[in-house]
Amino acid sequence: MQNVSVAEAGRHPAHLAPMAPPEILTLKNVTKRFPGVLALDRVSFSLRRGEAHALCGENGAGKSTLMKVMSGVYQADEGEVVYKGKPCKFICSVDAEAAGIAIIHQELNLVPHLTVAENIFLAREPKRGIFVNRAKMRADAQALLDRLKLRISPDQLVKTLSCAQQQMVEIAKALSLNTEVLIMDEPTSSLTESETGQLFEIINGLKREGVSVVYISHRLDELKHIIDRVTVMRDGKFVCTDEFAKISLDAIVANMVGRNLDQKFPERTSVPTTETLLTVKDLVRPGVFGPVSFELRRGEILGFSGLMGAGRTEVARAVFGADPVTSGAIWLGSEQVNIKSPIDAIAHGIAYLSEDRKQHGLAVRMSVAANLTLTNMDAVANRFGFIDFAREEAVSQKYIAALGIKTPSSKQFARNLSGGNQQKIVISKWLFRDSKIIFFDEPTRGIDVGAKFAIYQLMDKLAAQGIGVVMISSELPEIMGMTDRVAVFHSGKITGVVNTRDTTQEQIMHLASGSGAGSMA
């Protein structure tokens, strides 16, 4: 332990000694109750000036509630919030914002049809009389963008920006409020690798300026780039706060789940066969991808790797008939098929699980049962189209039990379930349809560690039953841990198909960035 503190001291300029910088925000024994739920149970948390502090925990651990107490959305029932040395109670998030605490939510709060400058100064426009002082607004916005070293014009419409750029605009907006504490909820969940790097540079820049950052993310491996300290929560309780340098990722995960995770991926039980289930040849969608060719074998898990926007999702959607193609052919076994719509694809036993469950996967205002049977209603209805509710309930119960979907009943609205359970519903839909080929598009995004493992296990079992599984993923460890082969995409083309066992993350990264030749399999 001694030499660790030396290393720690080395991280600060010598004249400061090992003294930690002063704390800007402190939560002491904060408790928050909701009807029937103890969301926060005497949680303490401290944030130093100029540090990036990660908040870790599984879904439902109380991270969001704590975040909302910090930013004034909720008031603590018990305990104390001390900001800049003074105990304070923010009545609402506007109070907190005015005091210098800003929050950037996972879903961005920008107005797509307004410009960058208009968004940054929305509702706080600099005025000249009753008119907006557009020149000043532009100049101020430009200054903020320069400070973040962003090459975005203040006149650009927000809807034309990428996800990452929109995030940067949110940060610029926060900075325009003289923010001293910036809370970020899953900021990288929809960013590509290089965009994430850009974001980290900005966060590091903010730290140097003395801004403190509270950072929430499920991607633990990225913490090392920015994080100084980490606080782990579990079941609404504080578990520990550590210097990031002194704690291993495995220890963080173990603290999060309250058990040792000796394996992040299940033992693969399925053995890929040589029988080809699906052959895609020279599929083209002009301006999006192509020509793309690949094969999927019975019982294998084929990974689709590559940067976001490289065409992975688009190819899967095209094979599924969700988007049109101009040329190319698809064979199922030895039979060439013509897939014009999802209806055709489903009839041929192809399934596609969207990366965006809420937008494309689930009818969130319908019951669990209705979602489960939507792909195969004929199986629970008589020949006149009347639904047999007893049969539907039996089917629902079967899948709820088989996949361990945690729901009070099959009548529950899908939107009331957690992300992991929603994903299981979507998977069940396609199992009920007896699919032969399943595309999983980012199946574990936004899902906590325990639920991830269950999804991996399920994919393995499906492959073991002879189903061809395609897993689209941006997370390389997941690709390395779960797939038999990997097709790597780069700007609309497959730059290589490699055997997972014979490859490295580095080689895949090279193929994904279009900079290297991989050994073809």
Partner: protein, 350 residues
Amino acid sequence: MSKVMDITTDNQPVAAPAPVRKPRLRLNRDMIQKFAALGSLSILLLVFSLTSNAFFTVSNGMSVALQVTSIGILGIAATCVIITGGIDLSSGSVLALSGVVAALLVKAGMPVAPAMLGGVVTGSMCGAINGFCVTRLRLPPFIATLGMMLIARGVALQATGARAISGLGESFGELGNGVLWRIEVDKGGTFPEVIFPGIPYPVVLMCVLAVIVSVMLSRTTFGRHIYAVGSNVEAARLSGVNVRRVTMMVYVISGALSGLTGCVLMSRLVTAQPNEGVMYELDAIASAVIGGTSLIGGIGSISGTVIGSFVIGILRNGLNMNGVSSFIQQIIIGLVILMTVWIDQKRNRS
């Protein structure tokens, strides 16, 4: 299907049990919405019974029911469309056009029954055009049906020279004026004594349609698909729901029911009025909304809509009986709509 059972989650490291969110009061809230409509209906009944002697009688009950039929049937149609996330602004005009077509066919020498069928077919075709504009031309439903609202009304006025068509014969009035189970006792007077005035055919028709459409929505795969399209159109498409066909069908249903309402209404007057049914589409939408149908789509029921149409009908009738001017009536109905939608919004927000 045995395959499913293999997919157990054994040897999974026991995750901290993901907190299952409780159903909270959601179910109850849905009930509250329905009971709120039903409750306000009861209060209306009570108040009007106390303020007017003639209100709570069998014959007034029947006349209210008769007055409600138009809004009721159009409301049933509107509910189907709104559940898919669409809207049909053309039903009032389509009603007029269909009635006029039926009357013109009779004038041309066709028997009443096929002529009225022709009216319904006309309505269906208008609905099909709406559906085509929405699914193929990808026009927003509001615009597509706004166009049809103007076109159908214009055609009806043009075809008749804006004059009512009368002299359609007694049999044309049968559908709108006939009753079922009228009980009379001949006591030797000039007129037989009426014990039960009978149930008007339009009321019977509305009840039958309500039951059929309600069963369709709640118990058939087609109904489930209607909800799925309204709840999440992309998820429905990717689940293999034929979104175009479902959308097309609800507009055709809406058109057909509008056409039927037109025939019933013109039959009641035994005159075809090209100016009939102006703004009826708004009453229909209002009755659906009062009954808890969400304009965002995905939520709604026929029972709610029927209650909603009776709320409007009884308000009108009761206020009439109490001598409240039609101007004040409009104000009150407007307030009722604002209040119920406000309740609906509150329900959806939480």
